[in-house]
Each structure stands twice: as C-alpha cells, then as structure tokens.
C-alpha cells in the first residue's frame, strides 16, 4: 500500500472542481478550454516555455499542429478580462442535467470560457460489486448501469463471459438478442428525443417521447417480466423465449413509432426555433472526437462512419441490412438528426429480424451454464442437482482475459473481464460510453453561450448511472 495514504491526503477538498485560473496548471487550463492536444513527444516540456506571457499569451503553441495532423485553435475565442469572469456551478441538482451531473463553468458575461464536468454523485461501486457476484448473477448488476439501455449492458456482459467460455449460441438466441437490443435502442433514443425536447423548451416532445417509449417498455415487460433492469440476456442465451404473438406486438410498435417519427419531423426538424437553437451549436470536429475517444452518435455526427454493428459486426448484424448515419458539421442538429434516423434504421433491422427469426433454442442446452426447465426439476434427479448447483455455486469460467465491445445507443460499450477460473469474475470493468463522451463537453461548450449549455449537454446523451457506475 506504499504511496496510497500519501496521495489520498494530497487530494484536498475541492481538487475535482474547477479552480480559479491562477491555481491551475497550463495543461489543465487547456483541457478545460477544450484544447485537444495531440502533440506528443517533446510537447510536454515545450508548452510552458512557449507560454511566456502566461495562459493569456497568444503565442503559437508547439505541438498544436502535431505530426499526426491534429490541430486545435485555443485562440478562437476571447479569454475574457482577468478578474471580470465568474465561475458558476450548474448541478448536481438541476432539472435538465440528466441526473446528477455537475458542470462548473467560467463565464465572461454569457460566454463560456472553461468547463469542467464533475461526476461521481451516483457512484455505487458496481465494478466492485461485480467481483462479488457470480457470472449467473452478474447481469442483474450491469443492467443497472445504463438504465436507459439495460439490455445492451446485459448483452455486453454476456458476450464477454461467452467469449471466455468459448461458447457459440443457438441462432435463435442470437436473433432474439438482436431484436431486443434494437428495440432498446429505439426506446433509448425516444427517451433522448423526449428529454432533449424538454431541454429546448418543447414540452410536448417530452410527452410524445415518453408515450412511444412506453409501448416498447410494454413489450419488454411482456417478454422479460420487467420494464427496466430486465436480467433477460444472460450468459448462455436469454432467460425466456419470446411470448406468443410477439410478431404482431413488435410490428405494431414499428408501425406506430415509424409513423410518429414523421410527426417529430413536423414538430421539430423543420421548426425554425428548434433549428436556431441547435444548428451550429456545440460543434466538435472529427479529429477532436477521435482524440477524445468519443464514440456513438457524437462521433458519427462529425462524419466518421464508425458503428460497431457495421465495422466490427457482432451477433448477426452482418446478416441484416441497415445504413450507418453520419453528420457533416458535428453540431447539435446533426446529433439530433442521427438519433432520429437511427430509430428508423433500428426499425428496419427489427422488421428483418421478424422475417428471419430462426426456430430453435433460445439458450444453450448446457446444464452447467443454463438452468433446466422448471418442469424437469420435478421428475429428474439430475435436473434438480443442476438447478441447485447452478444457483448456489454458479459455473466456472476458464482463466483468461477478454474485452468485448458493442454499439450501445451511446457508443462503444465495452466489457473487460479477467477470470481466475472461479465462478466469479476476478475483475469486471465496463467501458461506459457516457463516461468517456463526457470529455467532449468542454470542447463543445467553449465559446458558446451558457443558455446553450443545457442543450449541448443533452445532445451528448449522458446517462449518469453509466458515467458513475
């Protein structure tokens, strides 16, 4: 434990917050101003020397245009007079910060100079909890991280466990997983449309978004038993087969949601106020997005066609047709348009899934991994033993490490599991897209108006349960 107490005591109260300029290092200031620096090598030593006039100097910085061609322009906005700026605090209790996000901003009048997101208010130690739960129980834990797309969390955990087990699934299980995760993408994006509408003052959009989402959640309840936190996708397959008549239910959802996306077009897409508020606001470039490891609709809004479903297919995404949507300007409107059209693309995928859904098992018939059917327990001694062992000891997973990533509605959702050969993960790490995407907020906000901060934060679509885990 050498060094622990020393460093713990040096993190004094308030170190996570946005401090006055005088108390921060040049590197930290640049970070908060949204400079995405890729000048590696000697740059770390050269920066302080180049800034002889302090952070306010306008000298060209070495490393600014690095050998890899990444450029930034920290001079693109006025820094504001020293002593006349103020640091304000938005959140963590704020009606439009999507949970307990706290943004600290330095303002010159209404212009944002620096931003720092302060997170951790919803931290519940889920990675630590994951080490204490067996693989059988693990999906009940991860499903609570990104509570707007719980099935995607279960999916990535299950895929990672199956990767360690070296297991292949029956086709029907794969396609059911695909159906559910696409429906979940629809419900998650609808929720985003709702809250984004509310953040921009369109209260009707909030009601509409929730209304449509409720239809999808109704189907989830019918299939999994719960509206949220389903624990439906488990290592080895899914918990239950789809209910009778699921095709009609899903078809009804598709028809309704598709028709209503047209209404959203009428309500928002062409509306002058909405466009004024979103176009050209919260811009991020492709280089910045790549540098900051930003994924999902934000990366695609900059014009990079990167969607793991297409570029590194998992499940059976290589057997369905869909388009990857990209934007041009990387602004709030692009992100809105991408999410709206991703709902349509997801519905396209869902319709193909209905057509192609193969018959067969919805989980592997390996009694070491999945429990026996309830009826078998009454008549078979082995089934009873398997059931008992399954839920008391779980199953052992061969030692090794695996990283698996899927495209969640928010971006690359990764799971890194280290197994020591026991029934519990030795280490379970979740790469939450919201957590990483949060780094784009200072870049998007810098030089903009404080009134747009809410809209821009909303367009990042952070789910604090996943940011803090």
């Amino acid at each position: 434990m050498t060094g622990t107490s020393e460093y713990a005591s040096s993190t004094s109260e308030g170190a996570q917050e946005l401090g006055p300029r005088s108390s921060e290092s040049v590197k930290e200031l640049r970070r908060e101003r949204g400079a995405v620096l890729r000048g590696y090598g000697s740059s770390a030593e050269e920066i302080p020397a180049a800034l002889e006039g302090g952070i306010h100097g306008k000298a060209a910085l070495p490393g600014e245009a690095s050998s890899s061609g990444f450029t930034t322009s920290p001079e693109s906005f006025d820094e504001g007079p020293v002593g006349e700026t103020m640091i304000i605090n938005m959140g963590p209790q704020h009606p439009s910060t999507h949970g307990v996000l706290r943004l600290m901003m330095e303002l010159d009048g209404e212009t944002i100079l620096r931003t720092k997101p302060v997170v951790g208010y919803l931290h519940t130690g889920m990675e630590k909890t994951g080490e204490e739960l067996m693989y059988v129980q693990g999906s009940t834990n991860v499903t609570r991280m990104d509570y707007l797309s719980p099935l995607n969390n279960e999916l990535v955990f299950s895929l990672c466990t199956e990767e360690l087990l070296g297991m292949e699934l029956p086709a029907r299980a794969v396609w059911i997983r695909m159906l559910m995760s696409e429906l979940n993408r629809v419900s998650s994006h609808l929720m985003w449309m709702a809250t984004n509408g509310m953040d921009l003052g369109s209260t009707s959009m909030m009601i509409y978004g929730f209304r449509e989402r409720e239809m999808v959640l109704g189907f989830f309840e019918k299939t999994t038993g719960l509206r949220m936190n389903h624990n439906y996708i488990r290592p080895g397959g899914v918990a239950a087969d789809l209910p009778d008549g699921w095709e009609e239910d899903v078809e009804l959802i598709c028809d309704n949601v598709l028709r209503r996306t047209e209404e959203y077009d009428d309500l928002l897409t062409g509306q002058p106020i909405f466009r004024e508020r979103t176009e050209g606001v919260g811009i991020i470039t492709a280089e910045e997005a790549l540098g900051l490891s930003v994924t999902g609709p934000i990366l695609r809004s900059t014009g990079i066609p990167w969607d793991l479903r297409k570029t590194m297919p998992y499940l059976a995404y290589d057997q369905v047709e869909f388009d990857v949507l990209v934007g041009t300007y990387g602004d709030n409107f692009d992100r809105y348009a991408i999410r709206l059209n991703e709902i349509r693309e997801s519905i396209r995928i869902i319709r193909q899934v209905i057509e192609k859904m193969p018959p067969g098992d919805y989980r592997v018939q390996d009694r070491k991994i999945t429990p026996p059917p309830r009826a078998r327990i009454d008549e078979s001694m082995e089934a009873l033993i398997h059931h008992f062992k399954m839920f008391t000891e779980g199953f052992r997973v061969p030692a090794g490490e695996a990283y698996v990533a899927i495209e969640s509605p928010r971006g690359e959702l990764g799971c890194y599991i280290v197994s020591d050969g026991s029934a519990k993960p030795y280490r379970m790490h979740i790469r939450g897209p919201s957590f990483v995407n949060m780094q784009a907020v200072p870049v998007m906000l810098v030089g903009g108006l404080v009134a747009d901060a809410v809209a821009t934060t909303s367009s990042v679509d952070p789910v604090m349960g996943e940011v803090d885990r």
Partner: protein, 194 residues
C-alpha cells in the same frame, strides 16, 4: 505471423500459435506493418475474437503507444487497471515479470477495424506510470478513474485527482486489499441532527 514463435510464452499459447499460424497469416496480413516495428516487445497472439496483446516494459509504454498512434491506431478505446494481488499466476510471455498491478489499454485501429491491447506491469512498491494523455487526450477521464480506484499515479496527467469518489476519500476501492465492510462515515462534514 508477425510475432516470434519463441516469444509467445506458455504452453497453451504456443500450441495455439502453431496450429493456427498459416490461417492467421492470410487473414491478418494487414497487421504486419503495424506490428513490424514492435517485434521486440513480448506479445501474445490473437485468439478467437481477442486481439494481439503487447507487453511493453513500463519505461517503453509511452513510446510503444506513440508508435501505435503513428501506425494508425487513432482511438484509445479503453484504459483500466487490474489488481492481481490474489491471482498472481496468469498467462504472460516468458520475458514479462508479473507485478501486482497491470494497466490494460485497448486501442482501436479504425482503418482496419482491428483492436490492439497493451498490458503493462506496474509494481506495488512504485505505482506510477507515464500518462498517455499527450497521445490520446481521451485517456484523461480513464486515467483519473484508474488513479481513483487503484492509486496508480499517471505522470504527466494534467489533473491527477479523484473522479468518482469524494475528494477526501481514503484508500482506493478497487484494490483487492481494500476491505469492503470497513468503510467509515463517508461525508465527514455532514453534521448530526444537533
């Protein structure tokens, strides 16, 4: 196959390499260029859907990651730490000396649709490592999380503070010797009813 056969340590790994070497060469030929300059770094080959894993020394970690960026790994997908205190035996190449902590970096090569993994051993006695913030600015939050949870200090990081736990928290919760049940009062300033 790019990696030297004798470099891949462990019987299990070697067997895999031999039986699949020819199939792998055809399939992963485009990776040769990327890995060519990193021949001297101990490696484990790709298996199933898991990528090539590089095991640089702590001193070479920054340079290796720089080279991977130059080669075209545009994105840092993930950075995390594993505490191997209770699980010291793991499959490593022969040259790599296992240490308590391991920094795991997952890189994404967008052009090829490939991933790379870099695993660096960090000793318990000196839990520090270079920050790759200057190469991948996206590592900022991830390194802060790693510091917060494991107490690994990243040299050169702009803002090495806790990110998820409160500022005055003591200890690093994801370490294996961090007792789960012994957490004291969380917010000391919170007063009682009187």
């Amino acid at each position: 196959m790019v990696m030297d056969m004798d470099m891949a340590g462990g019987t299990e790994t070697t067997a895999y390499t031999e039986s699949n070497a020819s199939a792998e060469t055809a399939e992963r030929g485009s990776l040769d260029a990327v890995l060519h300059g990193l021949r001297d770094i101990p490696q484990l080959p790709a298996r199933r859907r898991q990528p090539v894993v590089l095991f640089p020394q702590r001193e070479r970690y920054f340079d290796v990651v720089s080279e991977l960026l130059d080669a075209g790994c545009e994105m840092l997908a993930d950075l995390c730490v594993v505490d191997y205190l209770l699980n010291p035996h793991r499959n490593l190449p022969e040259q790599v000396v296992p240490e308590r902590f391991e920094v795991v970096v997952n890189l994404l090569f967008l052009g090829l649709g490939e991933r790379f993994r870099v695993r660096v051993q960090v000793p318990e006695s000196d839990p520090t490592i270079d920050s790759i913030y200057d190469i991948y600015p996206g590592s900022e939050a991830m390194e802060r999380e790693a510091f917060d949870m494991f107490g690994i200090v990243f040299n050169g990081h702009p803002d090495m503070t806790r990110i998820l736990m409160p500022d005055d928290w003591e200890g690093h919760p994801l370490r294996k010797d961090y007792g789960v049940g012994r957490v004291p009062v969380q917010f000391r300033e919170a007063l009682g009813p009187r």
